[in-house]
């Protein structure tokens, strides 16, 4: 009996680690449905890309909360892994509560997948990485399905979805993406809720004095006001006692500086404006939404090496300093134009600069005013954000 339990525990632990295990093995994963176990194999399979060297896990590395593991603003894909992308890679953790896109009763855009919410479901979202030229670059679904039919787990695929599944390209492509969705939803590696902060909320850990100060600044509506968009209290998603997700899935325009390290930005006419395009097309007419991006979760944010949709910052300290000094010290963040005037909010067309949120704490200050957080206070908030990294052991 005990050896059996021990073996079971061990295998669950291994599964939960979700490691870069490359999708070998034929048996289903304990704790995962057949579909999800299949999805896991697809997630780690580089043979499904044009280069043969890129899997979902290449950009969504489990060791980095399923986000990128490097400090590049954008990743490159394609057959030669040399076609640059457009946005920094978000973490896939804690998307299990991400709703489909909708406008709430007050007209606030909410939910959806990708930084502009253009995909309605996880399965829907998975089309792009398989096909897009700058990612796995298969071009069309039939190429993906051919590769699936040749994969080591093709028999599993048939067993789960029917022996004739590969004959129907569209259905087979859909099933592969549904399997990915099942994996992302089911595997606790995507939502372990085991950070130090989770233990603290449960009364099982204490934060250091600095971390508590950081938490207080984070939650104080007159100081950081971070919980206004990145909620930190239990039940804040409306489900009683649910752990906080550190995002309310809404959208905001932070007025980030243009990141010239993104190759696409060499073209002055290229503007990534989130909700209103160019990637997303259905809200192109909503000029008021231009520049708004989805609020990302801050769980595991300290494992990131670049921040925000355009990776404009490469340390948490800089990212937070930008928040509080954007308006008090704009010269720190934006370039001088040829005319000698500061080009504030230079990643937006000048006539849309008014879309930037300048009314909410912490970025409601004016030039010359003291920033909402001092340098030492920013350090405190950074210390707090470090308690949000999963895998805490007391």
């Amino acid at each position: 009996m005990w050896p059996f339990v021990a073996a079971l525990t061990l295998s669950i632990t291994l599964a939960a680690c979700g490691g870069g295990g490359g999708g070998a093995g034929s048996a289903g994963d304990p704790g995962l449905s057949d579909r999800a176990a299949l999805g896991k194999k697809i997630f780690f399979d580089p043979s499904l890309s044009a280069s043969g060297r890129m899997a979902c896990s290449t950009c969504h590395d489990p060791a980095f909360a399923h986000a990128q593991n490097n400090a590049l603003p954008v990743q490159s894909g394609g057959a030669g892994l040399d076609v640059p992308g457009f946005r920094a890679v978000p973490s896939l953790n804690y998307l299990e509560k991400n709703p489909s896109f909708f406008f709430d009763s007050e007209g606030t855009p909410t939910g959806g997948f990708n930084r502009d919410g253009r995909a309605q479901t996880l399965a829907d979202q998975a089309q792009r990485p398989f096909l897009a030229a700058h990612e796995m670059a298969n071009g069309t679904p039939d190429v993906v399905v051919q590769k699936l039919a040749a994969a080591a787990y093709a028999d599993d695929f048939r067993r789960v979805f029917g022996s004739a599944i590969f004959a129907d390209i569209d259905t087979a492509f859909l099933r592969a993406r549904q399997a990915l969705e099942a994996y992302e939803r089911e595997d606790p590696a995507f939502h372990p809720y085991d950070s130090k902060y989770d233990a603290f909320l449960a009364g099982r850990a204490t934060l250091t004095a600095q971390e508590i100060r950081g938490l207080a600044l984070y939650q104080d509506p007159t100081k950081g006001n971070c919980s206004g968009c990145h909620p930190s209290a239990r039940g804040s998603d409306g489900t009683p006692n649910s752990p906080p997700l550190f995002t309310d899935f809404t959208y905001d325009n932070l007025g980030l500086p243009r990141n010239m390290a993104i190759p696409a930005n060499a073209d002055p006419a290229y503007l990534d404006m989130g909700l209103c395009g160019p990637e997303r097309t259905d809200l192109a007419g909503r000029r008021d939404l231009c520049g708004a991006f989805k609020v990302p979760t801050l769980r595991n944010v300290a494992t990131r090496k670049v921040f925000f949709h355009n990776g404009a910052f490469s340390s948490l300290k800089d990212a937070l300093t930008f928040y509080v000094q954007r308006d008090t010290n704009p010269e720190k963040w934006y370039p001088m134009g040829s005319s000698g005037a500061l080009e504030k909010f230079n990643d937006l067309p000048p006539d849309l600069a008014g879309n930037v949120n300048t009314t909410e704490v912490p970025y409601n200050r004016k030039e010359g005013e003291p920033p909402a957080l001092t340098d030492a206070e920013i350090d405190d908030v950074v210390a707090f954000l470090q308690t949000l990294t999963d895998g805490y052991t007391p």
Binding site: F200, L201, A216, Y218, Q219, K223, S227, A233, P240, N241
Partner: protein
Amino acid sequence: MIAAKGFLMHARHPLAVALLALGLALPRAALADEAALQKRIDALEAQLRALQDQLTAIRADAKSAQASAANAQATAEKAVAAAPQAAASGTAAVAAGNAAPPASMAPYAFPQIGPNTVLSSYGEIQYNVPQNSNDALADVGRFVIGIAHSFTDRTRMAAEFEVEHAVTSADDSGEAEVEQAYVEHDFTDHASGKAGLFLIPVGLLNEHHEPTVYYGVYRNHVETAIIPTTWREIGVGGTWHDDTGWTVNAGLTTGFNLSKWDPNSDEGRESPLGSIHQEGQLAAAKNLSGYAGFNWRGVPGLEAGATVFYGGAGQGVDFAGKDAKVTLYEGHVRWTPGPWDLAALYAHGAISDIGDLNATFAGAPTPVPATFDGWYTQAAYKFTFGGGQQLGPFIRYEQYNTARSYVGLPVGFDVPTGPNNKATTLGLNYWLTPGVVFKLDYQWLRPDDTQSRFALGIGYAF
């Protein structure tokens, strides 16, 4: 009550008038109490018949019509004096607070919808103009339907269904709720027990919150912010009373759920317990609570009582407040000498073992208060006119603090306690008949003067 109706319809004599008055004080009580009182009314009716026989005999004696009347009057006074005791188990007549209305008004009984089943209802509509008159509001504050049924003369049920703020749906701010639903059984003439969803016997208002019962357009702050009227729990409760005016209540019920505390909302500051009550709605019931209290009505017109409620509030939820406990105690006095109606109440609440939880709320505007309390005094005088009308000017002074103290807040991130609110309310209740009331008042609030307001209200209850 129901049995008494026919008889009271034909009441003419001063003696009958006095008893009629007693009978009329009763309909204003909570329906629940009605059912409890029915048996006693039957007894009173029997007594009344006996007295009437006696009276007839006295009349027949024909020595002096005058003397007979005086005699009858004396008997009547005795019957009225007994009212507090008759009401002791149900707390009806005294808590109802309206002195006996005049004889000229039409007698009233609950609509009977079956041989042993009665219907009741109350409602209140308010109009409120704060300092900033742009925020004036008119609202159907409450509409309630109740039903009570006697299975036997010892076993009955009572239930109330309430709609607050007129319209209820996912997008509206109204609420529809079952306010009470319980069965009650008399074990002896002095002891009864109930089980189900019932109102906690606490304070002056919680069990007797109909608009015709209290002064002012809105319920007082202390019994809203500190005692979360209308406060009900699911559980069992017992009541015992004797013949000298003592009533003792005790029970075991569901309690509060601190895991619902929202540190970013104002609710917890408006009413700490009101924001974490469960109202019998899939109530987390890992921790039970208990209450015990007494009332003494040994002197006609006087009621004095106290209650304490205690229980865990962690409810088995895995969070930093899992060991928290809620304690609420209150003491109250009400004295109704003649047309006067004088009342005072003090209530004190505490939530313990919340240091760890408040640490998680660091920086948030509304941590959990360790203590909160409040008191009020109220004086009213009732003028009685023809046709059952009454006019009751009143003044009430209240002090209440929903956050008297905090614990567990990190150094440098104190949240100010208080405020120590002071409310003075001056107003007028006008009863067209005892079941219909029009109200008007002005309330001065300190320190937040912007909340000072003028208000008008209409209420009914039967």
